[in-house]
């Protein structure tokens, strides 16, 4: 039983990492109906920029602020150069545009900062702490705390402020939102900036775990089954589905792995997502049909 619990909790904590990436997708999908393929590249960009600043000797907070500034600048450019000219087009057109954007960000980031693998040290040792019978990774607990703070801040902004009300109005009806005087460009810049901040959190957590390298963009692929399970337009869905994927992956690896003599976690999430597509295509909390993607 202890072993089961241990595996489960470790999986849940790993799931937090998936949620952190999925959250960025949901933010943009909610406010502009676009599946932002570039979210994974944004994760790489933030981690690479952060590491580059730190390697010049900048302290943690300064580097963090610098990356935030970079993401705001990116959001302004993306809104002006991609979203505005393509406004009111078919979502598929926008999706393909984000696919192109993904390559531009990857290329530009690596051109400017190189393709070497960088180490990212957040100063949190990956020791284990003993809580009851469970031994948990300190880093995972830190990641969880970060994700909780992130979700709390985003929920506050979305639900309790006027800017959040405007964001949700845009998400529900772009034409009506414009007609009552909500400035779409401003909303888009904000949403993409916030998605950039979320990418930063994900980039730091994943980067610290795996090293900052090209494969960080693949974190986007891990977010895909999470989004399918949670629903593209639901923030709580992204969190819960991330945890679910983390937990089931970890359990499947532990119990199924020996049977199939190999790692289950590389594919298990996708099978789970496939089942959801068959049984509940809008995901656990999704509201819109997935065809909208």
């Amino acid at each position: 039983m202890d072993l089961f619990l241990q595996t489960l909790v470790a999986g849940l904590l790993a799931g937090v990492m998936y949620s952190s990436v999925a959250l960025g997708f949901v933010l943009i999908y909610q406010a502009s109906g676009v599946f932002n393929f570039a979210q994974g590249s944004m994760v790489l960009l933030t981690a690479l920029t952060y590491v580059s600043f730190v390697e010049t000797g900048a302290p943690f907070w300064l580097a963090l602020l610098a990356v935030l500034a970079v993401m705001v600048v990116c959001a302004v450019f993306i809104e002006r150069l991609i979203l505005r000219p393509l406004a009111n087009r078919n979502p598929m057109v926008l999706f393909v545009a984000t696919l192109g954007l993904s390559y531009i960000i990857q290329g530009a980031a690596q051109l400017a900062m190189g393709t070497d693998v960088h180490m990212l040290d957040l100063g949190i040792a990956d020791d284990s702490v003993q809580i009851g019978n469970l031994s948990l990774s300190k880093f995972d607990l830190f990641a969880t705390a970060t994700a909780i703070v992130l979700v709390a801040v985003i929920s506050f902004v979305f639900n309790r402020t006027r800017i959040g009300i405007s964001l949700r109005a845009v998400a529900d009806d772009v034409v009506a939102a414009q007609s009552i005087g909500i400035q779409l460009p401003r909303i888009w810049r904000i949403v993409w900036s916030v998605a950039g901040f979320v990418a930063l959190a994900a980039g730091l957590l994943w980067g610290a775990r795996q090293g900052v390298q090209f494969s960080l963009t693949l974190s986007a692929l891990k977010a895909l089954p999470v989004l399918i399970i949670g629903g593209f337009s639901s923030m709580p869905g992204a969190i819960i589905a991330g945890l679910l994927v983390g937990a089931t992956e970890s359990l499947a690896d532990f119990y199924l792995g020996p049977l199939v003599q190999g790692s289950v976690s590389t594919w298990f999430a996708y099978i789970l997502a496939l089942l959801f597509l068959l049984i509940r295509p809008t995901g656990l909390f999704g509201e819109r049909a997935i065809e909208r993607v």
Partner: protein, 281 residues
């Protein structure tokens, strides 16, 4: 299920007979507006004036181009040719944001509200273009945000009370009856105190009682605030009672323009809109 006392609808109906119009000043001119979608003509050369403080009704059969015309006026569609003069300023193209800022409010045929937001929050979105605070102040509720929020809340509550929506304010819009949703849509447009209010079928899908209530409200908005109103409505009885001025469209062209009396007796209108046999029996 309507709250007859809460909106003082008796007073509305008493005030609703279309008297003479106060002003001869023109607030809105559409000049030679033409609009086509991939070769299909929606509007061709539509020209008409709306005077300050009048209620102007756009009527015509389905597909006549009424909604398209409203969409051109507030910039959702961009006309291929023609221009709009609003409040003395000429526009080749209007954007929805521009229209909202300059004082053009509108409602939609199919209640384009945010279903998950409360009625009050929906009304508050109508003030988005009036905000003077920065996004940062809004997002973290710091600085001048508090004062502005209080001010906007007071404005919203005033409109809510005017439309008798007090007991619905905190309910999410998707749970409200259709007629109430229509009022929330109107409240969202009214809260920014527009100079010109565009109403796209404000009484569609309502029963007679609800229609009379809405007629009273529209009339009251016009007489109490002097708001100029352009509305689309299919119920000719209501239009005749409410409008000072009627513009009739058919197949994207204007076929008549005048007082209810003039339009009622116009042969083209009778033929195109009311049917060939109208008035024979």
């Amino acid at each position: 299920m309507r709250p007859p006392s809460s909106t003082a609808s008796g007073a509305f109906i008493a005030a609703s007979s279309p008297n003479g119009i106060g002003s001869n000043e023109v607030l809105l001119e559409t000049k030679n507006i033409s609009l086509a979608f991939k070769g299909v003509t929606a509007l061709s050369g539509v020209t008409f004036d709306v005077r300050k403080s009048e209620i102007c009704a756009l009527i015509g059969p389905n597909g006549a181009g009424k909604s398209s015309l409203l969409n051109v006026i507030n910039g959702i569609y961009r006309a291929q040719s023609g221009e709009i003069v609003f409040d003395g300023r000429h526009f080749r193209k209007m954007t929805p944001i521009d229209a909202a800022r300059r004082g053009i409010g509108r409602t939609f045929q199919h209640n384009e509200l945010s279903p998950r937001l409360s009625a009050l929050d929906n009304v508050l979105t109508g003030l988005a273009s009036r905000g003077k605070t920065t996004s940062c102040e809004n997002a973290f509720r710091i600085g001048r945000d508090r004062a502005e929020r209080q001010h906007f809340l007071a404005l919203a509550e005033k409109v809510v009370a005017f439309l008798g929506l007090q007991k619905h304010v905190h309910k999410s819009v998707s749970t409200l009856p259709y007629g109430i949703q229509k009022r929330v849509d109107l409240a969202r447009a009214l809260v920014s105190e527009p100079k010109l209010l565009l109403l796209d079928e404000p009484m569609a899908g309502m029963n007679q009682d609800e229609k009379q209530d809405m007629r009273g409200i529209v009339s009251e908005v016009n007489s109490r605030f002097g708001t100029t109103i352009v509305l689309i409505e299919h119920d000719i009885g209501i239009v005749m009672q409410l409008a000072h001025h009627i513009v009739v469209l058919d197949y994207g062209r204007k076929i008549a323009d005048g007082t209810p009396e003039q339009v009622r007796n116009n042969a083209d209108v009778i033929k195109a809109y009311l049917g060939e046999n109208y008035g024979r029996d």
